[in-house]
């Protein structure tokens, strides 16, 4: 625990974000804006089949096409070596398939050419011979004993022991608390339902893009759009067997990510092409490629059963979560099971999860990975129980809410949480206290728990001789963190924000930092910034002691002033001391390098009002409120933006979004016309209520806030629709057709 600072000046204020002006004048530079002399266009050949063996790849004609400077396939990767061959082969096959393709869009080859047209023509000239295999695109079908097998070396990993037969079930787990059978026996009401949810995409507006350039001495520089420069470096180093010091990854402005830019898709291929072509190469994905060949969230099938007594106490909860991993293992089923029952005190419970491979895109993280669908099913059942038992939905949640020290079904113990505070704020909100009137209208509530990751962040801080401070952070700014991290540094240094400038460093100029994901950056990189600021202060105290010829212990720093108490002559402002630094032994550089092991947690409650057209099933959102415990809002305007943006993604998931596949595994809607995300017309103004229960493991009490708000909307909206017209829809998205079907109208 750290001492939480009080009487804050910079933290908690609402300055304009430092990147705003560049962005409103069109000057902000994104990966797609990179232009280098002699730069070529790279394009990727992708599998038209969801499951096939590659018999041969002939790139001869493509290589001879005028204007083509290089063609690469898996054969251009360094040869596989020794024992690590199995895991390594899968890693490389994801980048460029060698012997088998596992989803439509699986990369097979790539070309570098002078123009996009020539590149396309070259792709058309590559001949690939396939032995087409039966695909499996339905997750339940993939679990059957006679299902087509994607990976013949795969065995189910489980704490019960590793399986013996080839399977598509990559992993299985089961967690039990208490005695679920007994718990259900004690219940007066039991709700048992099954839910389905399709793959959904992050839909960042900027597609993936990577520009690679090699220097003559073997150094590789990549200009990328990513959440983590160091993860791109690791990826490319592993793929091409380079040394880390050979590779410099430069972060550009990121045009949206939401988890989808934690993974690397075109960086390796760009590097391979650039090496072969001996020219800079830029590879940018098209929108259909982005849908088909990056990492959406898992489609899933979930069964949930919960029981409660007449007086409103939950007695038992069970869930089975079956998550699609896509073509390679690694769905976020663990995250889903971790959070779904976490807001409630449940004495008896069971959670069972399956990670299943199917012939679809390989899933990646999407804002609270795996959690939104799990929250949707648990919260729908909570709403149904509350309704059946005659409780107000927020009262019911308050009655069962976790408190300090409560243990969840998976054994996590809640510490320093604001669950009750959030529910109470929601209950007292102007929205909830205003009755909803009118026919076909309904109100619903959803409630969610999500933690924030800690992990590694690095910051360096140079005190300039004019008293300004230049900071470099290893985190990529995807949400405004250059501003919110600089604010935490400025607060610590007692400086106004305009004296502290924070920039993103490339991998050569700053120490390792984990990806900007998991709601961690403002918290963990904030830690690093505060640590660097203290390093600066300590070093400046030493200088002041040197100048004043006193013991360093005598020098006190307070609110931007260095002084010796009770000696008025010995007082220097930060700036005045900064000006003296070059004459007392060069500038001061502070370092903050942390690995934060504390996982913060936060709770959010959403309230949705809808109107449903009973003839067509069309849903109109009338009013929407997000209430969330944010610990301490470093930059409240940015926090509100996270809450509003997250809620809107959840609203899209609730009502519109979802991959559609045919039986052959072909995605039917890979455009922003047919994969529908909310427009400005689909969401109302989103009201936000920031509850601040300080988190004691952060210097200012901040919690990670970015992911939680995507979770509650589907359940809140589903309940509102049920209240409006009596249709309880269990599958996402809640389309008009599903509402009419549930009502028996069609």
């Amino acid at each position: 625990m750290v001492e939480i600072k009080q009487n804050l000046i910079v933290v908690g204020s609402r300055p304009a974000r430092v990147d705003a002006v560049d962005k409103v004048i069109g000057r902000a530079s994104y990966a797609t804006d990179v232009r280098l002399p002699g730069m070529l266009v790279g394009r990727v050949l992708r599998s038209p089949y969801a499951h096939a063996r590659i018999l041969s790849i002939d790139t001869g004609r493509a290589e001879k096409l005028p204007g083509v400077y290089g063609v690469v396939t898996a054969a251009d990767l360094p040869p596989l070596e020794g024992d690590d061959a199995v895991g390594e082969k899968a890693f490389r096959d994801r980048e460029l398939a060698s012997d088998k393709v596992l989803y439509v869009g699986h990369p097979i080859a790539a070309v570098a050419a002078r123009t996009p047209e020539i590149a396309q023509e070259a792709l058309d000239l590559i001949r690939v011979e396939y032995d087409v295999l039966t695909p499996v695109v339905d997750v339940l079908a993939a679990m059957k004993a006679d299902a087509p097998i994607l990976h013949h070396d795969m065995r189910t990993r489980s704490l019960a022991g590793t399986g013996e037969k080839p399977t598509n079930v990559a992993a299985h787990f089961e967690q039990v608390k208490g005695d679920p059978g007994q718990g259900f026996a004690e219940a007066d009401v039991i709700v048992d339902r099954e839910f389905r949810n399709p793959m959904v995409h992050q839909c960042y507006l900027e597609p993936h893009s990577s520009t690679a350039v090699w220097s003559d001495n073997g150094g590789l520089t990549l200009y990328v759009t990513t959440q983590g420069t160091f993860s791109v470096r690791s990826h490319v180093v592993r793929l091409l067997r380079l040394s880390m010091s050979q590779v410099k990854v430069v972060p550009m402005e990121v045009g949206g990510a939401f988890g989808g830019k934690n993974s690397s898709y075109v960086d390796g291929v760009a590097a391979m092409l650039a090496r072969k072509a001996r020219r800079p190469v830029k590879v940018t994905m098209s929108r259909p490629e982005t849908f088909m060949a990056t990492g959406p969230n898992s489609g899933s099938v979930l069964r949930v059963k919960m029981g409660a007594t007449r007086d409103g106490h939950l007695t038992a909860a069970e869930a089975t979560l079956i998550y699609e991993a896509g073509a390679y293992p690694g769905s976020p089923v663990g995250s889903g099971s971790h959070v779904m029952f976490a807001p409630y005190q449940i004495p008896n419970g069971r959670l069972e999860g399956y990670d299943v491979v199917v012939n679809k895109p390989v899933v990646s993280s999407y804002r609270a990975p795996g959690a939104t669908q799990a929250c949707f099913v648990a919260e729908q059942v909570i709403n149904e129980l509350a309704g059946t038992l005659g409780f107000d939905p927020i009262e019911f949640r308050l009655l069962n809410s976790v408190k300090e020290g409560s243990e969840t079904v998976d054994g996590t113990v809640h510490r320093h949480i604001g669950a009750i505070e959030v529910l109470q704020a929601a209950k007292a909100s102007p929205h909830y206290t205003t009755p909803l009137e009118g026919p076909n209208r309904g109100r619903g509530v959803g409630h969610a728990f999500w933690g924030n990751w800690g992990a590694c962040s690095s910051v360096t801080m140079t005190v300039n001789s004019d008293g300004t401070v230049s900071m470099v952070m290893g985190s990529v700014d995807i949400t405004g963190t250059r501003t919110s991290i600089a604010m935490q540094a400025a607060e610590t240094l007692g400086l106004p924000l305009d004296r502290v400038k924070c920039t993103m460093g490339d991998t050569d100029s700053i120490g390792y930092s984990d990806t900007s994901g998991g709601s961690r950056t403002t918290v963990a990189t904030g830690h690093a910034a505060v640590k660097a600021a203290h390093d600066v202060i300590d070093k400046m105290r030493e200088r002041a002691a040197q100048i004043w010829e006193v013991d360093v212990q005598a020098v006190v720093f307070d609110a931007g002033i260095f002084h010796v108490p009770d000696d008025l002559d010995k007082t220097l402002s930060f700036q005045a001391l900064a000006e003296l630094l070059p004459r007392t032994g060069n500038v001061v550089i502070g370092v903050g390098n942390v690995d934060v092991a504390d996982w913060g947690s936060c709770f959010g409650t959403h309230i949705a009002d809808v109107e449903v057209d009973p003839e067509t099933g069309k849903v109109t959102l009338l009013r929407y409120t997000v209430v969330q415990d944010v610990g301490k809002a470093i930059h409240p305007m940015q926090v509100e933006g996270q809450l509003q943006g997250g809620a809107t993604q959840g609203i899209g998931w609730a009502l519109y979004e979802g991959y559609e596949f045919d039986a052959a595994g072909q995605m039917l809607n890979p455009t922003l016309l047919d994969y529908k995300i909310p427009t400005a017309l689909d969401v109302p103004d989103i009201e936000t209520i920031l509850v601040e229960v300080p988190y004691p493991h952060h210097p200012f009490g901040a919690r990670g806030v970015g992911e939680n708000p995507i979770m509650p909307p589907p359940a809140a909206i589903a309940e509102a629709i049920y209240q409006a017209v009596g249709a309880r829809v269990c599958d996402l998205p809640i389309t008009p057709a599903r509402i009419l079907e549930t009502l028996g109208i069609i």
Binding site: E117, K618, L655, Y656, K676, T679, L681, P736, A737, I746
Partner: protein
Amino acid sequence: MKPFAYEAPTSVDQAVTLLAEKGERARPLAGGTDILVQVRRGFHNLDLLVDVKRIPELVRIDYDAEEGLTLGAAVSCAVLCEHPTLQAHYPGLLDAVSIIGGAAIQGRATLGGNLCNAAPSGDAIAAMIALGGEALVAGPEGRRLVPIASFCTAPGVTALRPGDLVVALRFAPPKPHSGAAYVRFVPRGEMDIAVAGAGAWVALSPGGTTFTDARIALSAVAPTPLYVERAAEALAGQAPGEDAYARAAEAAQEAAKPIDDMRGTAAQRQHLVGVLVKRALRAAVARAGANHAGTGMEA
């Protein structure tokens, strides 16, 4: 995108000559909101795009109380929506025109393009069918009028022959006591493709007591925008009201041949046809009543 040549003729004759020379390998370019996307996706293999927006006849709007309305095929939806004559006399057409895409698509998309794209879901096509519109087509053999109801023959296929160019869309002047409306269903607020749509035009007796004539057209429930022939007889002589609307809706549902696709199910579309036809008729009748009261007929 595969390379192609570009020409921007300034007369219909030049355009027709250019199009006729290249036959299937040339297409007119109006707003480009469909054709450029289709060329990019490789649906067409073209040598030439003929930009028709520099031909004065294609970007003109003429209205005459006797002759009716002639809309240049390449006038953008945004221009149409702002036009006072259309607002006053053809609100049923603007219902459809105003919902084709967002503001940026409106700035480019055209009625000629919407018609020639021949999508089953083409909102403006159904609205134009309901209004009894005709397309003025110029071709190597001269000019002819093609009823919009028979213009589209299959998804993406039209009655046009090689070298043909749609010059304008023509509509009769509004009859007294008549009104039209177009409604569609999309799951989102807008910016979407119709799951189903219905256009209706009605003419009432001077007292507004009975239907004297009617036309109903549907979108997205058949391989082409669909003219519902039996709807007129279902309504003729009936008093405006829910009974009559239900009969027309039933006739429309019988005519509809919807399919399941990613935008909706057949059952949903079949159901929506009934709902939307009734809604279109209510709106059209309300507008006919407004005509009856004398508003909207000035100018």
